[in-house]
């Protein structure tokens, strides 16, 4: 785990713990506890009030026993202890202290009240006893005395005392105290007056009770006054007020914690969201990196593609007999388009446009292979059909990835304007004639290259006149689509080409590309490749006379050929020495072909072409026999031909000796032998051109 992750986790854990703390703090005010506590506080006041009422009832004799007083005082005592023990924990330390002080004050007042209550109970019992017993005893003594005494004054005195004491008790008249005390004292002094009639102790008891009443009435009343005095109630109220104050504060504190809790929650959520976002950003950067790598890969593919293309124009500044220009506008993802052109010899220029299936590096590599194969094959084989057939075999072998390439291959003879073409599943090119008419070259010579092995592709020859321009392109042009899905198509291409006033390939191709890109808009779907070749022709065209002959494969035909050649040779200013040496060579060559090329004695045709060019004579012999290169392989020696024929002994070596150049080519099913004899003195003349068929 990385340090930053650890930090994040620590921070989150910390905040969660903080939240837990805040949560607990915000919930600290427990309403059940509060309710219980305030109930106890209220109960305290209630019981106090009940106690006070009961005290008054006891005083007035409405309550004849003390049980309720005991119950109430016990409950007060218990409540005050309960309250002290159960000060809610959410009251802060200051509040607790304050409450405890208030409780102490209350407890002090309560203890004092309870002490007074005990004294009240005792004193009240004594007072009530005396109040009840004194009239009884006084009456007893008075009646006894009245019956026996002559002098009634002490009796009247006693009766007055009885009356005054009861009044005193009822009215609580303090001013009577002295008066009463005087009466009691006088009775005490005069108790001898009762001596004869009443037992002394009885009178003493009566007077003692009178004394008790006199003493206990103010005492009991004083105690009641103290018991009912406001301090306890006030302190109870103060307790209640203090608690409410601190409770409010606790509530506010809890509210504050709750607020902080909410804020912290929001902060935590924001932080988590931030982490989530940054994680997303991380992912995004990984994706971006991957995309970058992919783009680099595409660049590699692009580099391969572009490096394979000749990009420098004008490509052949020394040549004024033709003009060539090509562009390739790669799509965003590299497609498999390519083009190429190069001279096969000083007269033949080969050019090709292709489109490899698929995209990316594999396509680029396939394209490179294709291009290399074309170039290597074309160096020794000037027939497009043969080249395409060959590379088809090469590419379709071990083609596990099932890639293929559409290919248009053309070889243009700059001397004659003759263009031999093979179209392997490619778009048909156009030719814009020097007069402005457009022709489609709709020959098709086979399917795409690399798909099916063993196919033989054909070829066609097209004659270009001076000023004609041929345009090759890939499907990126015709299949370019506009926003609504319409394809550019061949019609638009034809029109665009026809409308173009420029004649040079470069401006034409640029113009066409702009048209296509304008049609397509920003989104280029596929590579757009165009290659234009304008045939201008050589200004100093040499003698170019041709004789074309077709003969059956019979030895008797050789003489006809030699005669015809002699006639053509004279007509074409061929020196006699040259003619005769060529005749010898022809005889040898044809003999060879007719004798050995057709093992099955079939009737076949041998085509001969004699060309008078600037510097000499070019003879091409094409037969359809078994593949056989007379210049590398000596003829089989088991045949009887060599013994029968005189000239046979001279052999092929003679041919090579006598001719300046010899070449052999194997086309699909043809052997092509080309021999050239240079003529020292050359006077070039313009001749009409004759079309020929290979």
């Amino acid at each position: 785990m990385s340090a930053s992750r650890l930090w994040q986790s620590a921070v989150i854990l910390g905040v969660v713990l903080l939240l837990a703390f805040l949560f607990v703090k915000s919930r600290v005010v427990d309403f059940a506890t509060h309710e219980r506590f305030t109930r106890n506080l209220r109960r305290l006041q209630e019981v106090d009030t009940t106690l006070n009422q009961d005290i008054l009832k006891v005083r007035d004799g409405l309550l004849a026993y003390y049980d309720t007083l005991v119950t109430a005082s016990n409950e007060l005592d218990r409540l005050s202890h309960d309250i002290r023990r159960s000060i809610p924990p959410f009251i802060d330390a200051r509040g607790q202290q304050h409450m405890r002080q208030r409780l102490d004050a209350y407890a002090e007042a309560l203890a004092s009240k309870l002490r007074n209550l005990e004294r009240f109970k005792s004193d009240n019992a004594i007072l009530k006893n005396s109040l009840q017993y004194f009239p009884l005893a006084a009456t007893e003594v008075a009646e006894a005395a009245r019956d026996r005494l002559l002098e009634q004054e002490p009796v009247a005195e006693l009766n007055h005392l009885l009356r005054d004491l009861l009044v005193y008790n009822l009215l609580v008249r303090e001013d009577l105290t002295r008066h009463l005390q005087t009466r009691i004292d006088s009775l005490l002094q005069n108790r001898d007056a009762f001596a004869s009639a009443v037992e002394r102790p009885k009178l003493d008891a009566v007077l003692a009770h009178a004394q008790k009443i006199l003493k206990y009435v103010p005492r009991v009343n004083g105690l009641i006054a103290e018991l009912l005095a406001p301090p306890l109630t006030q302190r109870g109220d103060a307790l209640y007020t203090a608690y409410n104050h601190h409770y409010e504060r606790a509530l506010q504190t809890a509210e504050a914690y709750r607020l902080v809790f909410y804020l912290s929650s929001v902060a935590l959520l924001v932080y988590i969201a931030y982490i989530g976002m940054s994680r997303l950003t991380d992912t995004l950067s990984i994706v971006t990196a991957a995309k970058h790598r992919m783009e680099e890969e595409l660049n590699v593919a692009h580099d391969i593609q572009m490096s394979m293309l000749p990009l420098i124009f004008p490509a052949f500044p020394e040549h004024d007999d033709f003009d060539i220009f090509a562009t390739l506008s790669p799509a965003r993802e590299v497609g498999g388009d390519f083009y190429d052109f190069y001279f096969l010899n000083e007269n033949l220029i080969c050019f090709a446009v292709g489109d490899v299936s698929g995209k990316g590096v594999p396509s680029a590599l396939f394209m490179a292979v294709t291009k290399t194969l074309i170039k290597s094959r074309a160096s020794s084989d000037f027939s497009p059909a043969s080249i395409v057939t060959h590379i088809n075999d090469e590419l379709s072998r071990d083609n596990d990835s099932c890639m293929f390439v559409t290919l248009y291959l053309a070889i243009l003879d700059l001397r004659s304007g003759e263009m031999v073409v093979t179209n392997a599943g490619h778009n048909p090119p156009l030719v814009k004639r020097s007069g402005g008419t457009i022709e489609w070259l709709r020959h098709k010579h086979g399917p795409v290259v690399g798909a099916i092995p063993g196919l033989a592709y054909g070829q066609d020859s097209v004659r270009l006149e001076r000023g004609d321009m041929v345009l090759l392109y890939t499907d990126g042009v015709t299949e370019a689509a506009d926003g609504s899905g319409n394809r550019f198509g061949e019609d638009r291409l034809e029109k665009a080409l026809a409308d173009e006033e420029e004649v040079s390939p470069e401006p034409v191709v640029h113009a066409l590309r702009s048209v296509v890109q304008g049609f397509e808009g920003d989104e280029q779907e596929d590579d757009i490749t165009m290659l234009g070749v304008r045939y201008i022709g050589r200004r100093s065209q040499g003698v170019n006379v041709e004789l074309v002959m077709s003969i059956p494969n019979e030895l008797g035909e050789i003489t006809k050929v030699i005669n015809a050649f002699k006639a053509w040779g004279e007509k074409g200013d061929v020196p006699k020495s040259v003619v005769s040496s060529i005749c010898v060579v022809l005889d040898e060559l044809l003999n060879n072909i007719i004798s050995y090329a057709y093992g099955d004695e079939q009737h076949k045709t041998i085509e001969l072409t004699f060309e008078r060019i600037d510097a000499g004579v070019v003879i091409t012999v094409i037969d359809e026999g078994v593949p056989f290169n007379p210049f590398t392989t000596p003829p089989p020696d088991t045949t009887t031909g060599i013994e029968q024929r005189d000239l046979g002994g001279l052999g092929i070596h003679l041919v090579k000796e006598m001719m300046d150049e010899v070449s052999y080519q194997r086309r699909v099913h043809q052997n092509v032998v080309k021999i050239t004899k240079w003529i020292a003195d050359d006077t070039p003349t313009l001749h009409d051109q004759t079309q020929r068929r290979i």
């Binding site: 005592d77 005990e118 005792s122 009840q132 008891a205 009770h209």
Partner: protein
Amino acid sequence: MKWWYMLPVLLLCLLAIGLWQYLHRTEQSVKEPLATREAYTPQEPIQPIPLQVALNDTKVKLGEKLFHDRRLSHDNSVSCADCHNLETGGTDRRRRSIGINGAESSVNTPTVFNSGFNFRQFWDGRAETLEDQIDGPINSPHELASNWQEVGAKLSASPDYVAAFEAAYQDGINPDNIRDAIATFERSLYTPNARFDQFLRGDSEALSEAEKAGYHLFKTYGCIRCHQGINIGGNLFQTFGVMGNYFTDRGNMTKADLGRFNVTGEEHDRHVFKVPSLRNAAVTPPYFHDGSATRLEDAVTIMATYQLGRKLDPSEVDLIVQFLQTLTGTYKEKPL
């Protein structure tokens, strides 16, 4: 760290919060009411004892066992029940009780019956509750001469007690629980259904005419001023000798004779005692804190003399005694 690691962490936090809240919850100690009192005509100064008092039976049984267990004394010789014999009116009917090693108590042993209705315990009221009261005999060298540590150790050695305490209390054997058990048992020692209570409940036939006359005298002569309420006393303090000096007349004044003065040190508490309950008085002689009155008649006479200042006629004494005899209640439905 994967995100789901946060989940257990959060759960843990919630658990912690819950636990915290649980531990800090306020104790909800709901005290059972001691007794639901019946409402009677308040004009009568005496109230009947309720027929039923709801108490925790397990605790009562445990307390009963403890009450009779001599292991509560230092040398395993004396139990609570030895002085508070339930067979003899909840007291030993001796002037002074004999504690450990034959030591004599300083005052007469009051009955344990209905002690739950007393507002204080001991003659001088120094214990607020029954629970507090137990500390007295346990620690007194004249009584059980033990201490809580010793008692706790002895009880903990007994598997029976350990099991019984476990059943009755969450926290097993400790002084508080021992006190509570014994006090709960003592509260179960109420004696309802005395004939006088039946009279109070409306059965006028429950008392004879003489007994009713006795009750009338009891009220007339002011006895009722102190001996009132459910326990006919036991709810206030009063001076012994309001109308005369009992202690001078008796002589041999002891420290115990100072009564509540020993507790408060206040002059007006000199010779002040808790007014004793008159319930079951007929079966709990001798009387007064000094156990000086062996017969009810003597007690009534002394009371009349020193509290009222009247020498009662023997006939009056007889009537009052007859009335007092109607105050004997039942325990477990058997008369004491």
